[in-house]
Symmetry: C2
Subunit: 328 residues, 2 copies
């Protein structure tokens, strides 16, 4: 037995929780307890632009699963090319979030899914129109009946199915998770040094847990105020409390190499910039170029398995399906 | 051996060409002679919105492979929500077309692929900027090198790869093709009656071959002029000949159930309407409701295997990648 194989065998003998007990970030677990039928229906809905007024914008337009579950734009493009007020957060691992949206105004994925459909600046539809549209498509009517075991389409089922699909969008098997699980060769020395710095500098005070974030709200600009032209006020818009002004949900750092640009306003174009700003504003710490580069190197080890499924084929509209109105 | 099995065995013994000799429409053959490496690269490019100025519009935005290779809009939405002048034709089976675009202004798929990228009303980029962007992404630079066996990205390779991917987008195994190949139970009596009518009425004068169209240019409005507010003049825009005014490439009828709305201006919302207009304007024939319904039933048997592949994951941008400008 080689030394490496011996170490692997020893590590394999250590109980899962023990091996990870000392690390603030824990491995992403593969999707579990998924209602596959609902998730498959939800996948179609997620990709269906007919849930927008224009017939052009789907969930996947701004949470593009080819691109880290984001649109990689500073702020998103909505109906009639509307400029959105905030950076689209990644849908990847969003099931691990304490709440949804930057300000946490939706309790869970199901509640979130109804938001963009009815937002006049995003998909610009209504729940009533979305349901009417789906009811005109026999392929959907039949699938809803089979999946939910009863006749009828409603927004509750639509958002439930989308949420179930989104629960599948976890990204296990990143190099960092391999390291967490005992493969000490999974990180280079620079990446490991970056992780040590990340912990010792206090980043893990907020970026912790399986998603390395997403589980608390924190003020943007603790040591120094954050300068932004963004109208977003954060958590106070939900709680009405002035103390919650500029409190935002801590974004996950999983797949952060793919989810540029960064922050709620998308103002940080690169990881280097984001790490620098976070260090100064949140921790009162100016990272050296080398430290910054090491932390960035560590962050890039958080890219896990990306979604892997066949492009869904959508059931066609019928003569009864209401037409989209992209140019009205 | 059952009668059906006996018939199948007999048909299997008939040479391929013999069995089909009498039919004006021939079966779609599965994709052949594909350079798989180029096609895989082309698939990524096809789904990559970074080939547009906004970073939001990809080939798949208007030729959506979840929806019959179209956007199912009357005319397409381009950069800054520009209203396109023409209905997006399906990319499915487009390798079988005599030329590309409604007016045939591109000789082949490769020439076509460069058009929308640089069209100010569509993706609104330039070939130079698209190549610069790709050159900033190591994942692409490496893949181009491996695929083409030499260093360097250029628009010739970009459009070659996209075209190679598009060559894979054929849709064999429709019910009609099963019928053509000898399975006489593949069509219902109404569908078969529709096909007989389709032939006897003269539809196959233009809608013939493997794609049931796509292989000639024909005047829109032969018996009666076609009334349209569309600015599209058809083939004359390419040839400069007045005789080619309102000559358009005959659209394929493959997957026509999925490629609504119809005609170059997208004015026909349903197959029923399209069949009625075609009958009157092209053939001087008013189909009865029953005849129309039978032809529509036949047309719906032309839906073949839809694209079946994993959603591509795009290589991430880097700090050197030029940023998109969606709102300038």
């Amino acid at each position: 037995m080689t030394t490496k194989a011996l170490v692997a065998a020893m590590l394999a003998a250590i109980p899962f929780t023990t091996a990870l007990a000392d690390e603030p970030i824990t491995p992403i677990r593969p999707a579990q307890e998924i209602n596959l039928a609902r998730a498959e229906l939800g996948k179609k809905l997620y990709f269906d632009p007919r849930l927008s007024r224009s017939g052009f914008i789907s969930c996947n337009s701004c949470h593009n699963l080819s691109m880290g579950g984001t649109d990689n734009l500073k702020t998103s493009i909505g109906d009639h090319w509307n400029k959105g007020p905030i950076n689209a957060p990644t849908v990847l691992n969003s099931s691990l979030n304490v709440a949804q949206f930057w300000d946490g105004r939706a309790a869970d994925l199901k509640e979130q899914a109804g938001g963009p459909i009815a937002n006049p600046g995003e998909m610009a539809f209504t729940h009533t129109l979305a349901v009417s549209l789906l009811e005109s498509i026999p392929g959907y009517v039949d699938e809803f009946r089979l999946v939910y075991g009863e006749d009828g389409v409603d927004i509750d089922k639509v958002t439930d199915a989308i949420a179930e699909f989104e629960k599948t969008l976890v990204t296990p098997h990143s190099r960092f998770d391999k390291w967490l699980l005992g493969d000490k060769d999974a990180l280079t020395s620079d990446e490991f040094a970056g992780y040590v710095l990340f912990k010792s500098s206090g980043c893990t005070a907020c970026h912790n847990g399986a998603a390395a974030g997403g589980n608390t709200f924190q003020k943007m600009g603790i040591v120094e105020p954050y300068q932004s032209t963004s109208p977003a006020e954060g958590r106070s818009a939900v709680t009405g409390k002035d103390a919650d002004r500029f409190n935002f949900k801590v974004p996950t750092l999983r797949n952060v190499e793919m989810t540029y640009p960064y922050f709620h306003d998308g103002e940080a174009e690169t990881l280097t910039e984001a790490v620098d700003v976070m260090g100064r504003l949140q921790l009162g710490k100016k990272f050296s170029d080398q430290e910054n580069a090491q932390i960035v190197a560590f962050l890039k080890t958080l890219t896990g398995d990306q979604p892997n499924f066949a492009l869904p084929i959508l059931p066609p509209s019928t003569d009864k399906t209401p037409l989209p109105h992209p140019f009205d």
